[in-house]
């Protein structure tokens, strides 16, 4: 399989988002990390696209404007201030956060910029009340040693986190603002991963490196990855917000194959001489034609006073049935656009004549659609239903998606679903959504400051792991030990020539097992650890007893180790 992906020219890069462990948010003085499901007030907003600094509108912004969303923010008084509501300009950047960001940028081998310029990155989906995320590049040209190669870090930025989405239904979207504004760093790698598994290992590698600082947040949502995939002839597609690296192999593999399928569709359209310019599509409101439909979905729509609109795609017969992902066909690409842009989000949101759904007397409807659209044998008809304005948007977007199919793979941001499947989220935003933040002057990062931080950097995890491996510590204990507070202790035990297999089993495996039971060994001091390791070895205590011994010590630190070991041996 991977050899096939290689042949396709699989390329993958990632953007790792990691929350920083700070007391306060990035541009205001609200507490960071205070999550709640309670709210005390609501604010309603709308978003409009604005120009980039270069005088251009961003395609993603224009797409999101079409959705005409009513955006509602749920405010909790503990975690929100007038900055988060976009009713106050930003305060000077949180120095604690910037300090951590510089440290992490250096850990990623980046050159730290001399002067950071805060930018506004437009997001019209409502996830940020301003309509943009404040973000700035801290470092560039980074490089992280990885499996005998290097992961190139093209840039490293600090930014404010977005709101948490609560509900997105029709033209209404609700967000909580507790996470909004929390400091976050983004590590953007080059497209250097050549296989899905390598990408997953690379993400784990970088994640561990960031954790080595001890200054990043842990837990659900504290780390999110955007995974970029392309194949030869395809385009960059971003799979947004992947929470765990374990999901990456399936997602990237399926995306690569989806791109392959889209390129085949492009070639088939070319064979049929259908191009962006020659594509013929006719739209029509056919509500009256289907007024007596026995389809529960269509009759329900008619009962609600909704309209049914059809689009005839000339010469596209069969195309919509082309498989693109496991269990999905090209028609799902159309459904994704209709769901997001026209806000017709009850699935199914379209039917088409090449695969018309089963229901009582469905053949009558199918024939009526064919007649109304004057479909020839080479054509396909698609119908959508909903409020009239939305159906007009929907058929226009279906046509847009076919136009893009003539060109192959559209640049998209896709959301991840179960089993490695993805669905459309938005058009991939580009550089044209960037605008300088006129509210915040550039931030000078003096060379002396960078050097001071560099001199106090923690040792990178990959170096610790390498050293531990050279000590002979078992592989499955290395990962835990390299992120534990006992790195110096392990070095000391190695210096004292204690059997490192035992150290690995004791301080790696047994400690991990206790951790799962919620028992911390952090109170055991270095002297006790050394004595314990020595005695366990000299008394030839079997490995299965390590855990009970540790448990007893954590329960009563005053225990005498020799007597403890002899009692366990008996």
């Amino acid at each position: 399989m991977d050899r096939d992906l290689n042949k396709l020219g699989f390329k993958c890069g990632v953007e790792i988002h990691q929350q920083l462990l700070t007391d306060k948010k990035l541009f205001c003085r609200c507490p960071a990390g205070l999550y709640s499901t309670e709210h005390h007030a609501e604010v309603l907003r709308h978003m409009r696209p604005t120009l980039s600094e270069m005088g251009v509108y961003d395609g993603c912004a224009l797409m999101e404007f079409k959705t005409k969303k009513e955006i509602v923010y749920l405010l909790n008084k503990e975690s929100v201030c007038t900055y988060d509501m976009d009713d106050t300009p930003p305060f000077p950047i949180n120095e604690q956060a910037l300090e951590i960001a510089i440290e992490l940028a250096l850990l990623c081998g980046c050159g730290v910029v001399d002067e950071m310029h805060i930018a506004r990155k437009q997001y019209l989906d409502g996830s940020i009340p301003t309509g943009f995320q404040r973000t700035g590049i801290v470092g560039i040209n980074g490089s992280i040693p990885f499996e005998g190669k290097k992961i190139g870090v093209s840039h490293f930025s600090i930014e404010e986190d977005a709101c948490r989405e609560v509900e997105d239904s029709g033209h209404f979207i609700h967000f909580r603002t507790d996470r909004l504004g929390m400091p976050l760093i983004e590590v953007v790698t080059e497209a250097c991963f050549k296989s899905p598994e390598e990408a997953a290992r690379g993400v784990r590698h970088i994640g561990r490196l960031l954790r080595a600082s001890g200054k990043v947040r842990r837990g659900i949502g504290a780390v999110r990855q955007d995974v970029n995939v392309s194949i030869e002839g395809g385009r960059r597609v971003e799979i947004k917000g992947v929470p765990r690296y374990q999901l990456i192999p399936a997602l990237t593999r399926i995306e690569a194959l989806r791109q392959k399928a889209l390129l085949e569709i492009r070639d088939e359209l070319k064979r049929r001489k259908i191009t962006q310019d020659s594509l013929k599509a006719v739209e029509e409101d056919i509500t009256d034609v289907l007024r007596n439909s026995r389809s529960p979905i269509l009759s329900d729509a008619i009962a609600k006073g909704h309209r049914i609109r059809a689009i005839k795609l000339v010469g596209l017969s069969g195309i919509l049935n082309t498989p693109t992902q496991p269990g999905r066909m090209f028609s799902s690409e159309l459904a994704g656009r209709v769901r997001v842009i026209a806000c017709l989000d009850e699935i199914p949101n379209l039917f088409h004549t090449d695969n018309y759904p089963e229901y009582t007397r469905n053949h009558i409807d199918s024939r009526a659609i064919r007649l109304a659209l004057k479909l020839g044998p080479q054509d396909v008809g698609v119908i959508v239903w909903g409020p009239e304005g939305d159906t007009i948007t929907a058929t226009a977007e279906i046509k847009n998606r076919i136009v893009e199919a003539c060109d192959g793979v559209p640049c998209e941001t896709r959301q991840h679903l179960r089993d490695g499947l993805t669905d459309f989220e938005r058009i991939l935003p580009g550089a044209d959504r960037m605008y300088p933040d006129t509210d915040h002057p550039p931030v000078r990062i003096a060379a002396e400051r960078v050097e001071r931080i560099r001199n106090a950097l923690p040792e990178p995890t990959y170096k610790i792991e390498e050293r531990f491996r050279s000590y002979g510590i078992p592989e499955d204990a290395i990962a835990d030990l390299a992120l534990s507070p006992r790195i110096k202790l392990v070095d000391e035990l190695a210096r004292q020539k204690i059997d490192m297999k035992l150290v690995g089993r004791l301080m790696g495996q047994a400690v991990r097992s206790l951790g799962r039971q919620g028992i911390s060994v952090d109170k055991i001091d270095d002297r006790t650890w050394i004595e314990l390791a020595t005695k366990l070895l000299s008394e030839k205590v079997p490995q299965k007893n390590y855990e009970p011994v540790l448990k007893a010590i954590t329960a009563d630190p005053a225990l005498e180790i020799s007597s403890l070991i002899s009692s366990i041996k008996e």
Binding site: D87, T438, P442
Partner: protein
Amino acid sequence: MSDDDPYKGYREPALSLLKKSGAAVWDNVEIETVKGPFAGLILPRSTTEDAEHIVIKMASGYNTGVHVSSIKKIKKIGHREGHYAIPEKEFPYDKRKRNVTLLGTGGTIASRLDYKTGAVVPAFSPGELYGAVPELADVCNLTTKKLFGVFSENMGPEQYKALAEEIGRLIREGVHGIVIGHGTDTMHHTAAILSYMVQNPPVPIVLVGSQRSSDRPSSDAARNLLNSTFTAAHSDLAEIMVCMFGPTSDDYGLLHVGTRVRKMHSSYRSTFRTISDIPLAMVWPDRVVPLRACRKRRTDREVTINTAYDDRVTILYYYPGMNPDIVDALVDNGYHGIVIAGTGLGHVNAALNPALKRAIDAGVAVVMTVQTLWGYVHMNVYDTGRYLLELGIIPCENMIPEAAYMKLCWTLGQTRDLAKVREMMLTPIAHEITEREPHNGYLVYQGGIPEVERFLSTYKK
């Protein structure tokens, strides 16, 4: 920084480095630095920032500053000039629609990036507005005229007079309504002075601005523009008004009387509030719902324009322990009028009395307002007040200090006779004094209290 200077904003030492490298602003460059290669487009440098960094826009769209000491070599590889301009589209004309003129004075209702300061500056054109807010064409036929391009703090007598005269001209030409785009900081000053300079207009005159500039996706500019043009074209309210957000949410706007309105928060969208009264009306982009009675739209073209103005007037914000020499200094410097923002019902320390007497004897008009903003001057309640009245201080009822200031400037521009000044100050022209304060006029919520929290959780803020 002239527009044709290829090194926009760059000064020594960055300037020499650029010249030596044969690179200038808008050039695509590769920069070799001690931190590795940087590639991007050289941007103008803000003149308020230091002279030691070269700013580039990288391919990602991010900007960054590279210190001259980090740079080993700059290589020019191309040129791409950025033009931040909203696409201009000709505003469609529909003879069935009403005609509204939008007068531009500056401010964030329409703004663009300024590289000199790195901040935003006013920009204004009909095509730009239509390009940015095409829904305007559904409301009216819009003509725009840029009178000045200044931030609101730079508005002054010259601009007030020009505005008033322009409004008179437009009314005589038959316009259905007038909108004035204005920076928000001194919008209520302009609204007040126009209320005296433009009397009994037959059509709505609406001042509008924005609290979030129009270069932001969440800007209030578009909605304010739609609300104000709708008011000008279709409402029945022949008053000088301010139209800004009611709540901070994108919901309704409020129409405030020009002499009763005040900016009450440094940054909130819903910063404008009617003081000691209720607003005139609520407005949405397609309807106006009146809240109280006011002067109605007329079909005649009559309006009184009186642009008198004397700028030798000041506001004296009283504080405990104020030294009388401040009043003396004002008199010695030739001031003709003093608006006191007094404490409570309109008081100052007795130590000021001799100085105030000297001022009035010297022919200076001294008027009293309250720094509580809400409520009337009542100088008969305490001896302090009675003594001040005896000195000849004019109690300005419930005029807010800024409205009293503008009225005194306007009055003194016509007469220095203190008896006449008193009569003119106390004869209301445009609601600057109202006879009755409604029971629901005064409303400053105290957050945190259960009943207010209940309200906040029920209605969108």
